[in-house]
């Protein structure tokens, strides 16, 4: 399936084309070129998926990994070398589909959403760059290739968040996003170094092969500061993943990232890039489970906490994109949790499957939510809930599709979210009760804040929209993607995922546990929705009173528990003021001062000896005679 290479090449070529010659093109031309190219890539990846799953299919009951393309890019040592290639296995193929689909939708959507924006061509070239890097990331054959594209993804995200580069807030946000993720990537890099040092390979296949024995054996009994080296390596790698996937406490960049254009948020910060962390863990899953199970537990708990934390914050946010951002964080946390609670092989690997499943479904309905929000913002030119309300009658399509997405994320059958979330919950149930109940509660919260959002936007009180441009339904170019994604969000749930994706890529049967999981989750979700309905459908005053009654806790949540402030303090006061400034001062004054001091001393000495040259012949003679006598004496007695 060498043609899968074109899935990567196409967007790269588009990037170069639009990047170098874009400013000479007409906007529409550029946009259409980009979209068509993306469509081509999408078509290819669907072909790949079809061929992989149905034409080639299983051999010996297992979906085999295939590496259609691979070449050595840079050789470090005999064993260690970066290869660039394409690895096709169930999850990477699944990702191909997700990415290209969402990306294509966004391309379409942007044609009208970004219409007339300055730098339209730049926007499209960056989109293509992002798609290229993201695709390269998922098909990486080795961990270092993944790291390479990981960085590229980071940069393209940086440039897209900072797309409105004249807006200081956007610049700050992009900087923050890049630096925070970069900091996380440092962990990733060090993890790679440790891993490769002991195993002597970057190759995923070799690392994960038969129960990751290469790792297990090579790091046997090595421990550093009381923790096994394997655990260190994998934890550091998880740090990288946590950075991209916005796990607590590295999540702070994601809400700010909403400064970017909304379609970008949909593509990068909801559907694709932010799940890269999850994908990374899934990629190395065998290594985790066999070499460093303790790290998996860590992941599970961090995930659970993040999910709860983000959900709570989401409840109080008023900027609709921020609400979505926090819901994204919490949903990704779901995926992390289910990886954390997963076992290996067959039905034990339920969590693994569930996480991938949720990743798949989430991508669509979250993209839908963002695009929907985008079309709303497009209509009312504001992100704030208070400027919205009763939009249902102005923009029905957006409203309906948004509703579908909300149902999906709330986990109401038969929408896709229900199935994936259900699997996660049941996986959690069998692993750890505490986590299970947390996630159940979060499910309720999710339902609540999503419908709070929905009702606030499309129902509630009607706001005074100025007459000459009332909100209106977005043009077809924007609604069509919404509809397509809505369809996805309805039906993807019915795909029988275990058939295709499982921890050891051997299919197994997963059934919905109505009694213990499904019913409770549905009930919880419905309660959430009902509460939201009561509070917000009519736009009553109750919420404010409740907020008052909550007092400090409420304000804390509004301020996202002051984490941004903490980070600010650390970076600005601690690092900048307490490390950088002193070092710079030390350099200028101590070290440089020493050098200048040398010169100064010489000058002073020369000034102090000038008296010897008094111009008095007799002094000269005196020195002469004494000197010769002295020398004689020294020569005699030494």
């Amino acid at each position: 399936m060498e043609y899968s290479l074109f899935i990567l090449i196409t967007p790269f070529v588009l990037f170069l084309l639009l990047g170098l010659t874009g400013h000479k093109m007409k906007q529409n031309v550029a946009g259409i070129i980009g979209t068509v190219g993306m469509g081509f890539a999408a078509a290819l990846s669907y072909m790949v998926a079809y061929q992989y799953f149905f034409v080639i299919g299983k051999t010996a009951g297992v979906f085999q990994e295939m590496i259609p393309v691979s070449f050595e890019w840079l050789r470090f040592t005999e064993k260690l070398h970066i290869d660039l290639g394409i690895l096709l296995d169930p999850i990477s193929v699944m990702m191909l589909v997700v990415i290209t689909t969402v990306s294509l939708m966004v391309h379409l959507y942007s044609l009208s959403y970004m219409h007339g924006e300055k730098g339209f061509q730049r926007y499209y070239s960056f989109l293509s760059l992002f798609s290229f890097s993201m695709l390269g990331l998922v098909v990486a054959t080795n961990i270092f290739q993944m790291y390479i594209f990981w960085e590229l993804v980071g940069v393209s995200s940086y440039s897209l968040i900072g797309f409105y580069y004249t807006k200081p807030s956007a610049v700050a946000a992009s900087k923050k996003a890049f630096i925070v993720t970069r900091f996380a990537d440092l962990g990733f890099l060090i993890g790679i170094l440790i891993l490769s040092y002991y195993t002597g390979t970057f190759d995923f296949a070799t690392l994960t092969a038969n129960h990751a024995e290469s790792v297990v054996t090579s790091m046997q009994g090595l421990s550093f500061m009381g923790l096994s080296v394997a655990a260190w390596a994998m934890a550091l790698i998880f740090m990288g993943g946590a950075g991209k996937s916005a796990m607590f406490p590295l999540h702070i960049w994601l809400p700010d990232a909403m400064e970017g254009p909304t379609p970008v948020s949909a593509l990068i910060h909801a559907a694709t890039m932010v799940v890269a962390g999850v994908y990374l863990i899934a990629r190395l899953f065998p290594v985790y489970i066999f070499a460093a199970p303790e790290v998996l537990t860590l992941i599970a708990y961090i995930g659970a906490f993040t999910a709860l934390f983000a959900a709570i914050i989401a409840v109080t946010q008023t900027d609709i994109k921020r609400v979505l951002a926090f819901s994204t964080i919490s949903q990704i946390a779901y995926m992390m949790v289910s990886l954390g609670v997963s076992g290996y092989g067959g039905h034990d690997g339920l969590g693994y499957m569930a996480s991938m499943f949720h990743l798949f479904t989430h991508a669509f309905f979250k993209a839908l939510l963002f695009l929907g929000a985008g079309s709303v913002i497009h209509a009312v030119h504001s992100n704030e809930m208070k400027d919205m309300g009763r939009l249902h009658k102005f923009m029905p399509v957006s409203s309906w599709t948004f509703l579908i997405a909300c149902l999906a994320i709330a986990g109401i059958p038969p929408f896709s979210g229900f199935f994936s979330k259900d699997e996660i919950l049941s996986a959690a149930l069998h692993h750890d009760k505490l986590i299970f109940f947390t996630m159940l509660f979060v499910a309720g919260l999710t339902a609540f804040y999503m419908f709070r959002l929905y009702f606030n936007i499309f129902w509630g009180k009607e706001k005074a929209y100025d007459s000459h441009h009332k909100p209106h339904e977005s043009p077809a170019l924007m609604t069509v993607p919404l509809i397509i994604l809505a369809i996805y969000s309805i039906f993807t749930g019915f795909i029988h995922f275990p058939e295709f994706i499982s921890s050891d890529s051997t299919p197994f049967a997963a059934h919905i546990e109505w009694m213990h999981v499904a019913i409770p989750s549905i009930v919880v979700a419905l309660t959430g929705i009902v509460i939201a309905f009561v509070l917000y459908f009519k736009g009553s005053e109750k919420p404010v009173q409740i907020a008052k009654s909550l007092g400090g806790f409420y304000t804390a949540t509004v301020h996202k528990f002051y984490l941004d402030e903490v980070w600010m303090f650390i970076t600005q006061s601690v690092i900048f003021k307490l490390i950088c400034k002193p070092i710079a001062w030390f350099d200028r004054h101590i070290i440089d001062g020493a050098m200048n001091g040398l010169a100064w001393t010489t000058q002073k000495t020369s000034a102090s000896v000038k008296g010897l040259q008094s111009g008095q012949v007799q002094l000269y003679v005196w020195v002469y005679v004494i000197g010769s006598l002295l020398i004689a004496a020294l020569a005699l007695f030494l």
Binding site: Q613, S614, G615, Q616, V617
Partner: protein, 102 residues
Amino acid sequence: MIKMEYYLIVSTLMFFIGVYGFIARKNMLAILISLELILNAVEINFAVFNRYLFPGSMEGMFFTLFGIAITAAETAIAIAIIINVYRNIGSVNVRKINKMKE
């Protein structure tokens, strides 16, 4: 017969008196005289060494002769220059020739 040491003591004394004079006196002519003392001390040395230690050869004596001659030349030139100095600064005080210093 006088011992050689006596001569040497005398010459050494002369030498250091000369040096002292050179350093102590202001008048350049006096300084010239001190110089003469120094050089004569040296010449005494040569003569004495030749006479007492190496009577076989005349090397020391010749050295003395040459020394005297050269000293004379030296003095002549020195006088000439001192006169020139006097013409310029109207004094033969050695402490006054310190226009150039440091």
